[in-house]
Amino acid sequence: MILLTTGLTLAGCALLALSQDHNWKLVTGTAPIGRTQLVIRVGGWVLPGASLVVGIAVEDPGFAVVTWMLQLAVACFVVAMTLGFHPGLLRLVARTCSGYRRISSGREA
């Protein structure tokens, strides 16, 4: 279960980061498109929320909230480090969100 909540939190944070124009451009090399950005932003809020719901469903709400809060912190840190050192690693997430269109290598910019 911890893997599921961690995965949801990490994916959510990656989407939240990509929903920022400068991060999207850093990863993909292209300007963000309105519809894709909406999908990413909604996903970025929904996935961490889902992680919290799953946590509360399987253990004491107190533990779930504290665990979620710290998972979120670690996930944000990991995403920030990825953007700092290897932004290309997030290209797969960006491609998935944009339906595998418009993003080639991310080196155009």
């Binding site: 980061a17 710290l70 920030a80």
Partner: protein, 515 residues
């Protein structure tokens, strides 16, 4: 998200954040560092006291371990005996009792045989690092007051830091290592601060709450007619006898296992199968006609809240004579205190606390470095203020890490039978810790910029040496530790090695970028 605050207010907050941070950085780092290590205090105990490395057996009988030992002891009549039930992280039966001559004693018993374990004389994690976290080992109450003020300062730093940031959401994901070093350090400071903002606020707040009776004893005691003992009894349960001893000899207290089983059944009936296990059994008015037994646990139904839940038994009839649960008003503070104490069995949360604690250390360290970088001009010698802050900064950050490594090494090198007039073995370990720390400060003052890299190399070397010494003195190299299920030793060795590797990497980076 942009915080719309007047510019002059932002500047005032920036000034406050900078100078309060500089003033408190050293003590805050020490508190954060020891607090982070305390998350695994019992595991450090097991590393430093190899007699405790065996896994905890299931279904330990107190009747076969604690009671035979208690029968051998000359206990002070009418006193209290506490029996700690072995748990996953504490693999022994613990006895705390008063001898007939009034001396208080502590013994650890083998949970399989009941034999007294001759432990390595070390204060290790739970008796050195843990108290250091909240009282800095300064005699009297001064250490508590310093830590209290630092905690208060930390909360001010967190709030002022929020106002200093113009774009707090953007900071969630901003780290630019390719920019100049000063910018990268500020990014890292912002990142580690912002992602764990609730943690950085709740920890000092809960710490202040835990020791509120130390900092504000009179105001806390007002509702109890100024009597702090009454306050403790109301909040913390039966630490004091509730029935006066008869003054006449009494019979045995019967089966402790039966009382434990009964208490567990009662809790299970209330909460279902997932209920938590009892942690302590206390025999009040021992060897007296009015003795009674208390079975206690601290984390009801595996929840965050830390609060005693006690069932009191009459040992003669086996009847429940009382039940203590904290007052409802204690509920909120019990939750917040439980959050800080982290004594519950939740390994995921334990590791997350450890990581967040390291993040806090990194936040303080990078904040200090940023302050210095902002005042360094490569064409001129560093100003005195920078040199002083650098020496204090290196000594208080890298220095305490070096001191901790030396503490571990001293633990493995000092012989068990060392006999010095009036000096215990554990005192020598602590002496090694403080000597190493003082030397680190002195080295930082003398070596100036080069001290960062040299102390990183020292951390790497000492960390590896600690692991090697653990291997040579106990035979528990990582693979052997795995073989005997000494997981705490294995993981601790790996964490120390990871810290050594990180320090080595930092030293290489510093060399590459000209200190």
């Amino acid at each position: 998200m942009r915080l719309h605050v007047p510019e002059h207010f932002r500047q005032s907050m920036g000034w406050l954040h900078t100078w309060l941070g500089i003033a408190l950085a050293a003590v805050l780092f020490a508190i954060f560092w020891t607090g982070t290590l305390t998350v695994f205090d019992r595991e450090i105990d097991r590393w430093m006291k190899p007699e405790l490395r065996a896994p905890t057996p299931q279904n330990v009988s107190l009747d076969e371990t604690a009671l035979p030992r208690l029968a051998q002891l000359d206990l002070q009549p009418g006193s209290v005996v506490w029996v700690g039930i072995p748990r996953e992280r504490i693999p022994a039966v613990r006895l705390f009792y008063d001898e007939a001559n009034g001396d208080s004693r502590e013994e650890w018993l083998d949970p399989r045989t009941g034999d007294v374990i001759e432990l390595t004389d070390s204060h290790a994690g739970s008796e050195f690092l843990f108290p250091f976290h909240f009282m800095l080992h300064i005699p009297g109450n001064l250490g508590y007051y310093i830590v209290g003020l630092a905690a208060l300062g930390m909360m001010v730093l967190v709030v002022s830091g929020i106002f200093v940031h113009r774009k707090i959401i953007r900071d969630f994901f901003t780290f630019r290592p390719q920019k100049q070093a000063r910018r990268a350090f500020l990014d890292f400071h912002n990142l580690t601060a912002v992602v764990a903002l609730p943690f950085h606020f709740i920890m000092p707040f809960s710490g202040l709450l835990i020791l509120a009776t130390t900092w504000f004893p009179w105001s806390m005691a007002v509702p109890f007619e100024g009597d702090i003992r009454k306050l403790d009894v109301a909040l913390l349960a039966y630490e004091e006898p509730m029935i006066d001893p008869a003054g006449e000899p009494g019979g045995p207290v019967g089966s402790l296992d039966a009382h434990v089983a009964r208490a567990t059944a009662m809790w299970r009936a209330e909460e279902g199968r997932g209920t938590s296990e009892p942690e302590w059994v206390a025999i009040f008015n021992v060897n007296d006609a009015k003795s009674y037994v208390v079975v206690e646990r601290y984390f009801a139904n595996r929840r965050v809240a830390l609060g005693p839940d006690q069932i009191v038994f009459d040992p003669r009839s086996g009847q429940v004579i009382d039940r203590f649960r904290p007052l409802p008003v204690h509920g909120v503070s019990a939750w917040i205190e439980g959050l800080h104490w982290i004594q519950f069995d939740h390994w995921t949360l334990r590791w997350l606390y450890f990581i967040a604690g390291l993040g806090g250390c990194a936040m303080i360290g990078t904040g200090l470095i940023y302050w210095m970088q902002a005042r360094i001009n490569k064409t001129r010698p560093d100003p005195a203020s920078v040199r002083i802050v650098r020496a204090i900064g290196i000594g208080s950050t890298m220095g305490i890490v070096i001191a901790t490594a030396v503490f571990l090494i001293a633990n493995r090198l000092i012989p068990g039978d060392v006999a010095l007039e009036g000096v215990h073995r554990h005192d020598l370990e602590i002496l090694a810790f403080f000597l190493a720390w003082i030397l680190a400060f002195a080295h930082a003052a003398v070596r100036d910029r080069k001290a960062w890299r040299e102390q990183c190399i020292a951390v790497a070397g000492l960390g590896m040496l600690a692991v090697v010494l653990n291997w040579t003195t106990t035979g528990h190299h990582p693979i052997a530790a795995m073989g005997v299920s000494a997981w705490s030793v294995l993981v601790m060795d790996l964490v120390v090695l990871a810290a050594a590797a990180t320090a080595l990497l930092a030293a290489v980076c510093l060399r590459r970028h000209g200190e």
